[in-house]
């Protein structure tokens, strides 16, 4: 089997290495790698000048500004609120804690289109929440932020929670013994220990928000230059049969996503080292 020749493997008495790895690699190639390479191969057929002109045209740049900006702010809000929710769920006992804990995953499980229409109806000027707000949320850039905050909510909670659960109370006891106030202990002992997980969760939420489409398009209003996200622009180009333009923008977003993936991997390696110590 060719995979055996390619990959060095330590001896094991268990069978099925070639079959399982061979199948996994074949399936990975056909489903993920070959189609994904199409984007880059298509992008190579475009001249550099056209590529740069496409990805830096004003409408596209405005969409980056909105997508990256709203994703960043949403991820920051998720960083703060996620830390708070994780803290409350791990450290305190209150009625309904289990239900709240389960509910945190709702944005993972709820289809984005459902989230999109629900948030839009809530934040529209006559909606349950929108009618109490003096400013416009739905059909405005602020709506993009609301949708991205919703879909990014579980990431920080779920990365910080296990680390907080494993945190040794002895460290906090030592800090208290040495005369630290509770706030000092949090700032100097607990927070630094949570930092890698917090950053990982932040990066995951940010990465997810960058690529989000379903929940945003309902609430954004999708006005060119104002409330149009990059994913929608890709679809718009596709609908105009401008495959080259769509591919060029997609490459920019893919490179950003892969850079974030690399960053997340590095952060997780850092977190593992910190925890292992």
């Amino acid at each position: 089997m060719s995979t055996r020749a390619l990959l060095l493997r330590r001896h094991s008495v268990l069978p099925g290495f070639g079959l399982s790895l061979g199948f996994a690699l074949l399936y990975l190639c056909f489903v993920v790698l070959v189609p994904l390479s199409a984007v880059f191969l298509k992008a190579f057929t475009v001249s550099w000048g056209t590529f740069v002109a496409t990805v830096t045209s004003p409408r596209v740049v405005a969409s980056y500004r909105l997508t990256f900006g709203a994703s960043l702010v949403a991820a920051l809000v998720n960083g703060v609120s996620g830390l708070l929710v994780a803290w409350v769920l791990v450290r305190y006992r209150f009625a309904g804690r289990r239900v709240v804990d389960a509910l945190v995953d709702l944005p993972f499980a709820l289809p984005t289109a459902v989230a999109g229409i629900a948030l839009t109806t809530l934040y529209a000027s006559n909606g349950w929440i929108g009618r109490w707000l003096p400013f416009k949320v739905a059909y405005a850039p602020l709506g993009v932020f609301v949708a991205l905050t919703f879909i990014g909510l579980p990431f920080v909670v779920r990365t910080v929670q296990p680390v907080l659960e494993d945190l040794q109370r002895e460290l906090e006891e030592a800090a208290a013994t040495l005369g630290a106030s509770r706030l000092q202990t949090f700032a100097r002992v607990i927070f630094p220990a949570l930092m890698p997980a917090l950053l990982t969760g932040f990066a995951l939420a940010f990465a997810r928000a960058l690529g989000e489409y379903g929940s945003v398009i309902f609430i954004a209003g999708n006005m060119p230059m104002v409330s149009e996200i990059t994913s929608l622009l890709i679809i718009t180009k596709l609908e105009q049969y401008d495959y080259t333009g769509a591919t060029a923008i997609a490459v920019v977003m893919l490179v950003a996503a892969f850079a974030l993936l690399l960053l997340i991997n590095l952060l997780q390696a850092w977190a593992r080292r910190r925890q292992g110590r």
Binding site: L8, R9, R10, S12, L14, P15, F17, L19, S20, L21, F23, A24, L25, Y27, L28, P35, L36, A38, V39, S81, L84, V85, V88, R91, Y92, R93, F94, G96, R98, V100, L103, A109, L110, P111, T112, A113, V114, I117, T121, L122, I129, T149, F150, E165, R169, E173, A176, R182, L210, Y213, G214, S231, I234, I235, Y243, A250, L254, A257, L261, N265
Partner: protein
């Protein structure tokens, strides 16, 4: 949700038994110096609950409220509408194909990664995660570039009168792509943690590879497997962006449930849109309940093993 009771107080003073609670996180020995004052505790809990209520509970409740806003008759009519039924069938078909495919992949990948050491394992793990970081719209785009009329196979497909994009196969392919990592992601860490002693023992006793898989490995990971399948299914039935790109939006033919929701919503048929959405929201709730059960089972079996 105002019934914030109490917290931080010593629940189990017996420091010798660390598993007083199922999750032994909260202060087994609480000094005053290690807990926050009651008002801080209550404020933090209150703020967190208000935030979650605003962002999670209200949207969820509003789906069902809007669905029933025009009465049960309108709700029911939206669900038995011919286009809705055909969208439901297509959604079930797409999930019914992509979940088993990704299940077989997940088991194969987890077997290779967890039971053997080989070069490039970390690269393989990163590649398995790749679809998570690809935007759904781009996932749709790649299949347009391969199978679309201007794509690699476009002319060949047209000459042979085959349709992949703007047809059911494209929807299935896009769904397979976006749900690709789910089951593998659930299985790999668990199977890595479980090691291979049990499988090796079975091997020494003369079991074949398939017997080991069916009798030893799969029973050991059955809860993670179930949860992976449930999660994969939820995403498969709810996928919007990728499917939207390749579907072509032909009513009654290439519309899945999420796309049908979009059509109804853009058509100002809000009650009908939310009625169909309530089906998917119900599925999401079932997913969350199953997740909680699976986690409890996993904890219970973990505790059992420790004793």
């Amino acid at each position: 949700m105002s019934a914030v009771i109490d917290s931080g107080q010593p629940q189990a003073v017996a420091a010798a038994s660390p598993r007083a609670d199922a999750r032994p996180a909260a202060s087994p020995r609480a000094h005053d110096a290690l807990g926050e004052p009651a008002w801080v505790r209550r404020t933090l809990i209150g703020v967190a609950l208000v935030f979650l209520a605003l962002f999670l509970v209200v949207p969820l409740v509003s789906v069902f409220a809007q669905a029933l806003a025009k009465g049960v008759d309108v709700y029911w009519a939206a669900l038995v509408d011919a286009d809705a039924v055909s969208a439901l069938k297509l959604t079930l078909l797409a999930a019914g194909i992509s979940v088993p495919l990704n299940l077989v992949f997940g088991v194969a990948a987890a077997w290779a990664v967890a039971k053997f050491d080989f070069r490039g394992k970390n690269l393989l793990l990163t590649l398995i995660d790749l679809p998570f970081s690809v935007s759904p719209v781009i996932a749709g785009l790649i299949y347009m570039l391969v199978f679309g009329l201007q794509g690699w196979c476009g002319e060949w497909l047209r000459d042979h009168d085959l349709k992949i994009v703007f047809a059911v196969p494209g929807i299935v392919l896009a769904t397979v792509f976006v749900t690709f990592p789910f089951i593998a992601r659930e299985l790999i860490p668990l199977m890595q943690a479980q090691g291979q002693e049990q499988e090796e023992a079975a091997r020494v006793l003369g079991a074949s590879g398939w017997q080991i898989l069916w009798r030893v490995t799969l029973p050991n990971v059955r809860w993670a497997l179930l949860y992976g399948v449930v999660l994969c299914n939820a995403r498969a039935m709810g996928e919007f962006g990728a499917v939207s790109v390749v579907s072509g939006h032909i009513r009654g033919q290439t519309d899945t449930l999420p796309l049908h929701i979009e059509i109804l919503y853009d058509d100002y048929q809000f009650a009908a849109a939310f009625a169909v959405a309530s089906l998917l929201a119900g599925l999401a709730l079932v997913t969350l309940v199953l997740k909680t059960i699976v986690e409890r089972r996993a904890e219970a079996s973990f505790d059992q093993e420790k004793e």
